[in-house]
């Protein structure tokens, strides 16, 4: 990822201070996340529900 795009993402995430003082760590974080994203499997069924499901307690 180029630095301009990384800066845009960092500022959008509110990480101005980290971008100013720990730029290499922010770039490292974006690369790490991209690697995990590549390995993240998608559910075969597009309608499958996530775990844990939201549940309203009885009597709430």
């Amino acid at each position: 990822m180029d630095e301009k795009t990384a800066e845009t993402l960092a500022i959008a995430a509110g990480l101005q201070k980290a971008w100013a003082h720990h730029r290499a760590d922010v770039l490292d974080a974006l690369a790490t996340l991209a690697a995990h994203k590549a390995n993240l499997p998608r559910a075969a069924n597009p309608a499958v529900e996530p775990v844990p499901p939201y549940r309203l307690e009885r009597g709430a």
Partner: protein
Amino acid sequence: MSAHTLSLAEASRRIAAKTLSPSELLADCLARIAEVEPRLNACIRLMAEDAKAAARKLDDEAPRTPLHGIPIGVKDIIDVAGLPTTCHSAQRLDHVAAADAAVITRLRAAGAVFPAKLATHEFAIGGPAFDLPFPPARNPWNRDHHPGGSSSGSGAAVAARMLPAALGTDTGGSVRHPASHCGLVGLKATYGLVPREGVFPLAFSLDHVGPLTRTVEDCALMLGIMAGGDYTQNLAGGLKGLRIGYVRHFHETDQPADPEMAAALDEAARLMAAEGAILSDITLPRLQEFGAVNRTILYAEAGAIHEHWLKNSPEKYAGVTRRRLLPSQFVSATDHVQAQRRRGEMVTAVLEAFSRVDLLLTASSMDPACRIDDTQMVERTYPRQARTPFNVTGHPALTIMSGLHSTGLPLSLQLVAPAFEEARLLQAAAGYERAAPWKGMAPNP
């Protein structure tokens, strides 16, 4: 035999028989801490005087539980009333706990005493690190190597015979990792079985509190108090007739293990079969998928916890913690839901496996502990493990020593049981422990 070398169970038996007092046991443990702590950095804070006062009171009482007068170390993300819970971080140096964590309340009521808060990776994720308010714990088997983490001080303290047991926490394997590298028994019980109240969270839906001990019996005694119940009843049951699914692909193809680690796993499977277990191969989703799901959920949950500090005081984290937490601020809501959806399918896959077998046998770590100062090897080897799958699914998982590497460092294996079947898990681990020659091996830190 010095009292600090006794197992928890043996110390408990002597206290019950009045041949050892809680004060004598504590004094010997404190002397051991004074001897080896300067070389291991396992402790963040000693509470010697508080513990001595508690032990003196217990000297005059009849034991109500097996933990009466037993000194237990506490990972410093777990609250003890009136003491700082630093999380090994400059972000939290001023935080003082108002109340005991629920698990401390249970242990204290059972008669345990708490002589030390123990080192951790910063916020249970960042370490080993040398740019924090406290130094990183070291491995008692070889002080140039790390002890595993994030419950690093817990592993080092119990392996070094400073304390008979310690509390750790486990979000992606952080009880079982130090157990693997320090030659201990580490248990992550079924999600929710041990209360998390008063424990600083890393990721709410993945976090577990668990014991690190030197024997399976000690682990069962700790769990009995931490979770409530008697987990010692089946310990003599052995392995005969248990159907064990061997998840080979984790360490053979997903993340090929160190050859000695792989050989030790095969030898353990052979030994379990010789003891009467029925071994078969089981296939689960790939480790890389489990890892990605675990990390995505962890990022989403930890990101909410750390958002304020990441935005306003990122300089107060160790570099490694900052690098491991910053991805949390970029994870998308869509990816989080995708991970939670896949998590459900992974639970189903493990449930399906348990329709055919009673337990699973897998690797824990793929490698023995690397040098603590070798940053590249730390980063390469930390994710090479098969523990995160069972944080994703919530099934109980136990790590136990499976031998010694040619470098002299411990090897390990992992056993996994269906939800709430901790008694069966401990039964099998005790059976393996009796058959394997590793019990009693100790480091010389």
